[in-house]
Amino acid sequence: DAMVIQNPRYQVTQFGKPVTLSCSQTLNHNVMYWYQQKSSQAPKLLFHYYDKDFNNEADTPDNFQSRRPNTSFCFLDIRSPGLGDAAMYLCATSIYAGNTGELFFGEGSRLTVL
């Protein structure tokens, strides 16, 4: 059974039209992450939550926002997508227990910007 579920799997939007990607987890993990992965590049961390504490990476554009209304759900909002935001967006979770660093990933949401 899927433990980290991302929706939608594929999202097509127009330049500048806001998009929301969702992630839900059944693992009850208290840490959730959003990564951006462009073609032939390493996944890049955008931000993560320890419970409700939000941690933004210094180089994450302001265009990207996130919400975590409860333990199970986390959302990625792209306020005004540009062509350069076309990518695979990966959600991941982990138990914060002594820096294990072991993450569990969803299947990703592929964003296309027209």
């Binding site: 032939s40 390493a42 072991e102 993450l103």
Partner: protein
């Protein structure tokens, strides 16, 4: 800045060939080391990990990796690959003073029957 380098971007092998994928990281402190695999159309999943102890770690599906501290390396090996090993392989590092997983750029492995 902390980084992870994977030397091979694309590897093509025949079944039963041996595999070694290189991974080096740049970080002066203690790290946890991982290899993740992504099969076509599937999510990233953990292949193996090293936290401490025996530097030779064994993972799923016959994979192993060796941590060489002096070389800042964590190379992935498999003695005999199968067609089902066709996938993208990512080396990743978590510095012990953070919980952030830093990925390498990945190696695409294609295995032909």
């Amino acid at each position: 800045a902390q980084s992870v380098s994977q030397h091979n971007h694309h590897v093509i092998l025949s079944e039963a060939a041996s595999l070694e994928l290189g991974c080096n990281y740049s970080y002066g402190g203690t790290v946890n080391l991982f290899w993740y695999v992504q099969y076509p159309g599937q999510h990233l999943q953990l292949l193996l990990k090293y936290f401490s102890g025996d530097p030779l770690v064994k993972g799923i599906k016959g994979f192993e990796a060796e941590f060489i501290k002096s070389k800042f390396s964590f190379n992935l090996r498999k003695p005999s690959v199968q067609w089902s090993d066709t996938a993208e392989y990512f080396c990743a590092v978590t510095p012990r003073d953070t919980d952030k997983l830093i990925f390498g750029t990945g190696t695409r492995l294609q295995v032909f029957p």
